[in-house]
Amino acid sequence: MNHSKSWRVRSLAAVGVSATLLVAACGGGGGAGNQEGSGSQSAQAAFNAASSSVVNPSDKKGGTLKFANPGDWDTLDPGETYYAWSWNFARLYGRALMMFNAAPGKEGNQLVPDLAEGPGKASGDAKTWTYKLRKGVKFDDGTEATSADVKYAVLRSTDKQTFPNGPAYWEGLLDLPKGYKGPYKTPNMNTDSAIETPDKYTIVFHTKAPFAAFDYLAQQPDTMPVPKDKDTGAKYRNSIVSTGPYKFEGLQPGKSFNLVRNDQWDPATDPNRKALPDRIEVTLNVNADDIDNRLISGDLDVDVAALGVQPAAQSRVLQDPALKATADNPLSARNWYTSINPTVPPLDNIECRKAIMYAMDHTGYQTAYGGPFAGGDMATTLLPPNIPGHADFDLYPNGPDHKGDLDAAKKSLEACGQPNGFATNIAYRAERPKEKATAEAFQQALGRVGIKLTLKPYPQGDYFAQYAGLPPYVVKNKLGLATNGWAADWPDGFGFLSQVVDSRVIRATGGSSNTSVRIPEVDQMLDKALTELDTDKRNQMWGEIDRRVMEEAVVYPGVYSKALLLRSKNATNIMVTDAYGEYDYLGMGAQK
């Protein structure tokens, strides 16, 4: 939506990559296919079983789940946290207006009302959204959570000086008064133009532009109510008031905390949560290899950051069939692609861009990212398959073995007027071994048709601000290709596409993740989709946008990212939710 958001998502990706030396993932297409309830034994025995069904289903209450995090939490404050795994986890202690269903696979992608009674009701122009709140939802101190608390929570999250790293959708979208700087700095300003609370159980949002996918915004943790008198600004992360079935106990920042039952949570107000375990113990800053070993031994239940196992455990898991059967290989809503910049001659000619599409060795790309398990599936589109609206098409078939179609590439080169190939550069982030391997793979594959590629590493901190995302720099230094990647904030076409295909996010001063897609028609298609209130029609439009972008050959779709996750021995109700591409932390129970 705006700059800080795109920056944030990229830096998340950066943290993800650097945190895992090699994100493990295994492909294998989820053929396990055990039906829910078909017996825990058989379900447990299959690789990827939890991607499509519930492994070890149970309604038994009690027990303790042990989570570990290889790093620190970005923040537990629902107004600022910005990792998929943290959003997944936040549902345990907070109730947003909407939430992703605690269900396996695609069902996990569905939005269900949580604090709200039902989905948002839109005005005809999709600019006014009304939610009715459930009655009787209480904070852990016994006071009732009302629409005013939700309004306060959303408003405080817009203060980017207090919460610099949080998602930045609200301040860009809501019709806030001019000069509004959040409830801390401008407490007396009337914000009814943005959010109205006509009564304790009604909240009305007013947006500046149509935003048909509003329910996705309403599932963000920053709509979890925050009581104004208990809010301590940036310090609230250490004293969060819970509305969910669990509350915090013994929180030691950077070390550990526990979630224990919140006796003020009333199951009658909450159809979505089973709240099975009595306790969830979380340890922070645990060595990543140690986490893998403890997952294998059964000493630990969940690697909460869900980046996949480390290389050492990866080879162990993939080579040992018994161990492999306890692993899952879900897709995350991320595409590691490469931008093909039409501003750099001769790539201003579409035929030269097509030559790259055909000449690249797609399996080499996949291997560079870690292969079919750790890397992901070969992508032919921008939208990953687990995002609603994904359309399956392949405009540039690269041969039966996916090693590239050299004849087609040579034909394109001739049509481009460069029959002997040409020379250009590829930019990548120096700190990322996988991007380096990708650049080397491009160099090898394109060399087969005479396209000479020179590798240009840049520091990842300024990759978009000063190098690959700075249009004049790209042209001056002839960065024809640039490795890139994008993960959606939520599984929806808008969440994925808006920052990477809208040409209006490209700034001459740099900083945009979109470096190559400049198609006016696509901009119009995006605007149109945002006014479409029918979800199915809207999803179809995202697919059409994807196809239009691919027709221009300005993006080489690399891999739909995957991660190799290990299933807990102790946990019950284990399932991968497509919403996060991780185990669902909300429905999970414990045997002991």
Binding site: Q314, L318, T367, A368, F373, A430, K436, A437, Q444, L455
Partner: protein
């Protein structure tokens, strides 16, 4: 009784070594000849020296060697990689070692490790030699000037050395190599990187050799032959050239030989930290850096690591032997 025929030989052996070979000739033997004699007796140093000659030949004839014993250093062999199983490890034991790939292949892209080690020696030796040359040139010049002229020149130069010695070199190297543009001084790409590395490594290492030369010059300055040359009216330039420099050759030679392995390690460290040569050009440090990610496949790290280890060891052994030969009074 007749004398045994060996008696003459025994008598010959009793003659001191300095005149042994020259027996029958009138002139004595030069310092160089004596040093060579001593070096010849030091088998360890000779082995080190022989390996260095071998290594230099390998570096020079790398393309030829690779043509017959490997495959091009940047060529992928992904058909030899376990992509289906997902581990991305080379297929086969010991990292896919075979007659085609003597040291196995790299994980992920399957490049021939042997070829890359051979080509890596070029980068390592080139940078180490030229950087050492730069250090020695600057160090010797400033060391002699400082020691011979003395006075405020000496004070100034000595403080300059202190400043350079106190410099956090690695930090500076990383910063400099990180911000340097792609094109400068008419060079670009890897040529520029190599020039930059030579400059960083060479330019900041000169005080080590500079201090030694200064000390030697100071002591030589007071020696009788210099005094007598002075008293005979020799000019400064003449004394520097004819009296000082020949006597400084030995320490210069020894410390250059010992500086080269340090520079090889430094270059490897910089490449390891990602500020060295640009991929895909092979360098030993860069290979180690790549191998870190694949710590479950030790062969990848073993070969470039061994190459660095043996080379540095050979230089050190040879350098030590050279010092013993040239300056037997020096304590180890």
């Amino acid at each position: 009784m007749t004398l045994p025929p060996e008696a003459g030989a025994e008598a010959e052996a009793a003659i001191p070594e300095a005149v042994l070979v020259g027996a029958g000739q009138t002139e004595g033997r030069s310092l160089g000849q004596i040093a060579w004699m001593r070096l010849k007796r030091d088998k360890v140093a000779l082995a080190g020296g022989a390996f260095l000659i071998f290594l230099i030949l390998v570096a020079i004839f790398a393309p030829l060697i690779v043509k017959y014993l490997g495959s091009p250093p940047n060529e992928f062999h992904q058909e030899l990689i376990d992509t289906a199983g997902g581990t991305l490890a080379p297929i086969g034991r010991f990292g896919g070692m075979s007659w085609d790939h003597l040291m196995g292949i790299e994980p992920v892209n399957g490049r021939d490790i042997f070829s890359r080690v051979v080509y890596g020696s070029r980068i390592s030796l080139l940078i180490a030699f030229l950087a050492t040359l730069l250090s020695v040139a600057i160090g010797t010049t400033l060391g002699i000037i400082s020691g011979f002229i003395g006075g405020w020149t000496d004070t100034l130069t000595s403080r300059l050395m202190d400043i350079f010695l106190a410099f956090p070199l690695l930090v500076l190297a990383i910063a400099l190599a990180g911000v340097f543009p792609d094109q400068a001084f008419g060079l670009q790409g890897n040529q520029l990187r190599i020039a930059l590395l030579i400059f960083i490594i060479g330019f900041f290492n000169w005080p080590y050799i500079g201090r030694i030369i200064r000390g030697q010059t100071l002591s030589l300055r007071e020696r009788e032959f210099v005094e007598s040359a002075k008293s005979l009216g020799a000019r400064r330039g003449y004394i520097l050239r004819t009296e000082m420099l020949p006597n400084l050759i030995a320490p210069i030679l020894v410390y250059s030989t010992l500086l080269i392995p340090t520079n090889i390690l430094f270059e490897a460290a910089l490449s390891f930290l990602g500020v060295g040569i640009r991929p895909p050009t092979a360098s030993w440090g860069g290979m180690l850096s790549d191998a870190v990610v694949f710590y479950t496949q030790p062969h990848f790290m073993f070969w470039p690591g061994m190459a660095i280890f043996i080379t540095v060891l050979a230089f050190n052994l040879f350098g030590d032997g050279l010092r013993d030969a040239l300056d037997p009074r020096a304590n180890r």
